[in-house]
């Protein structure tokens, strides 16, 4: 084998391996949606179980074509803010790179991974609004969140030329801000306009617990989520194999998949244990705490010491419970799965802890090192990026009568009324 042949062989194998890696990360991310679907269906009353699942399927189905139409373009075109940079057509659906092309082994698999990130944001939002949002309204809002809102935040805080990255050294390798904070606070904005389910609050302001119909389904769903998030977090690293550079984080700095493995598992464990202790053994909060433990570590998954990741996980597992109670008591929202707290609050913490405990880490090239100010600006930006469109668009939809299922239909059950189906046959 000549040196030239060896070079061709190595480069080809690196590219094929890279394609295969993101292909399987994408497949694993589909499991996130299996998990969210099972979780939410289980948390739903029997009369709305089918429509709750259909809602999740719709978000998945509509996200794919819309992310192909404009989501991927937004990521590439808006790192500078609201004015697009000139890409000479790259990223638009009619560009040759958006289809089979022998010289481009990257666009398809990266587009697919980002599409599944987008689907994840929609699923985060989905659980908060079950049992009273119109399916069409949810689908529209899910597309706005997944194919416009979060990907704009990703263009600012993930893209190597994003203004948060180049101007502030924003560090968020596992998407604590660009996915979880944005999706959580988008959901909060919608919840303020959507209102609670009938029967959630009494006239004196006290709340009633509305039990789901299948704790088993919710349990399995929450565990499936954690499986799926391994695909999600794996997709957050960049395979620089063809450059003979190994792994780099999304900002171009050296990283390892091992660091992600250490900190994901230690954060998960800490979150479960913290929530177990604080909730006195509530299994719903244990599993949600596990997710929160991952998300509080997500911003710095590449740099934490695993013991510290565990401690942060414990903190997240505890904090999300009073945070959820405070949000409900203060704003009278009905966040059926605690999505605002688990994703929105943990996401903010995940961004800020990098600034507090990991300031000064260098990035690549001209990107400034991590700093508290940079992370604070990033956290505020991500909250606003999620909340403002979520609130404003849902307010407009509410004024059009296109947001909430009417009370009569809610009482009859959405499954029977709108889909003509029932989840379970009466014996």
């Amino acid at each position: 084998m000549t040196l030239e042949e060896l070079n061709t062989f190595v480069t080809t194998q690196a590219n094929v391996s890279m394609e295969a890696y993101y292909w399987w990360c994408t497949a694993f991310m589909v499991i996130i949606h299996v998990g969210f679907l099972m979780y939410e269906v289980g948390a739903t009353r029997m009369k709305n179980a089918v429509s709750s699942g259909v809602k999740n399927l719709l978000a998945f189905a509509f996200m794919i074509p819309t992310f192909w139409l404009f989501g991927w373009y937004i990521y590439l075109a808006f790192p500078a803010g609201f004015v697009p940079i000139d890409l000479e057509g790259y990223g638009t659906p009619w560009n040759v790179s958006m289809g089979p092309m022998l010289s481009d082994q990257a666009t398809g698999v990266f587009w697919a991974a980002f599409t599944l990130f987008a689907c994840t944001t929609a699923s985060i939002f989905s659980g908060a609004v079950i049992e009273r949002i119109r399916l069409s309204a949810f689908t529209f809002l899910a597309v706005i969140l997944g194919s416009v809102v979060w990907i704009t935040g990703a263009s600012w805080g993930w893209h190597p030329d994003g203004w948060l990255v180049t101007g502030f050294g924003y560090h968020d390798v596992g998407a604590a801000g660009v996915v979880h904070t944005i999706a959580g606070w988008f959901a909060f904005g919608v919840l303020l306009n959507l209102g609670p389910r009938i029967g959630k609050y009494n006239e004196d302001g006290t709340a009633n617990e509305i039990e789901g119909h299948s704790l088993v389904s919710s349990f399995i769903g929450l565990l499936m989520l954690i499986v799926g998030f391994f695909g999600f977090l794996g997709g957050c690293l960049i395979w620089a194999g063809s450059d003979l550079g190994g792994w780099i984080n999304i900002y171009g700095a050296p990283a390892t998949l091992s660091s992600f493995a250490f900190n994901t598992l230690m954060g998960l464990s800490g979150g479960m244990i913290g929530a177990f202790w604080y909730s006195k053994g509530n299994p719903f909060w244990m599993m949600s705490g596990g997710l929160a433990g991952i998300f509080i570590c997500a911003g710095g998954l590449d740099i934490w010491y695993p013991g510290f990741a565990f401690i942060m996980g414990v903190v997240a597992g505890i904090v999300i419970i009073p945070a959820n109670n405070w949000l409900h008591n203060t704003f009278k929202i009905d966040d059926c799965v605690g999505a605002v707290s688990v994703h929105g609050v943990s996401g903010i913490l995940g961004v800020l802890v990098v600034g507090i405990f990991a300031a000064g880490y260098p990035a690549s090239g001209d990107i400034p090192p991590t700093s508290f100010v940079g992370q604070l600006v990033g956290a505020i930006t991500m909250i606003a990026t999620g909340f403002i469109p979520g609130y404003v668009i849902s307010l407009v939809m509410k004024s059009m009568g296109w947001l909430r299922v009417p009370d009569e239909v809610q009482m009859a059950g959405i499954d029977k009324a709108e889909l003509g189906l029932e989840a379970y046959q009466k014996q």
Binding site: P65, L69, P93, V96, S97, M101, L102, S136, V143, E408
Partner: protein, 57 residues
């Protein structure tokens, strides 16, 4: 643009090769059809929901 097929119906020199890749107009048209289907189905679903709501009043 579309370079398929290569000389003498081979893969030589081929790069982008999906259907109609040599015709930007058709690619734009197909993209608009995809967008129209998405919008149309959401609108149709919203109309069905409104009809159901009217029946339950």
């Amino acid at each position: 643009m579309n370079s398929f097929p290569g000389p003498e119906n081979s893969w030589e020199g081929v790069d982008a090769y999906f259907t109609w890749a040599d015709s930007p107009g058709i690619l734009v048209f197909l993209s608009l059809v995809v967008a129209a289907i998405c919008v149309g189905i959401i609108w149709s679903a919203a109309r069905h929901e409104s009809e159901v709501a009217d029946k339950h009043k």
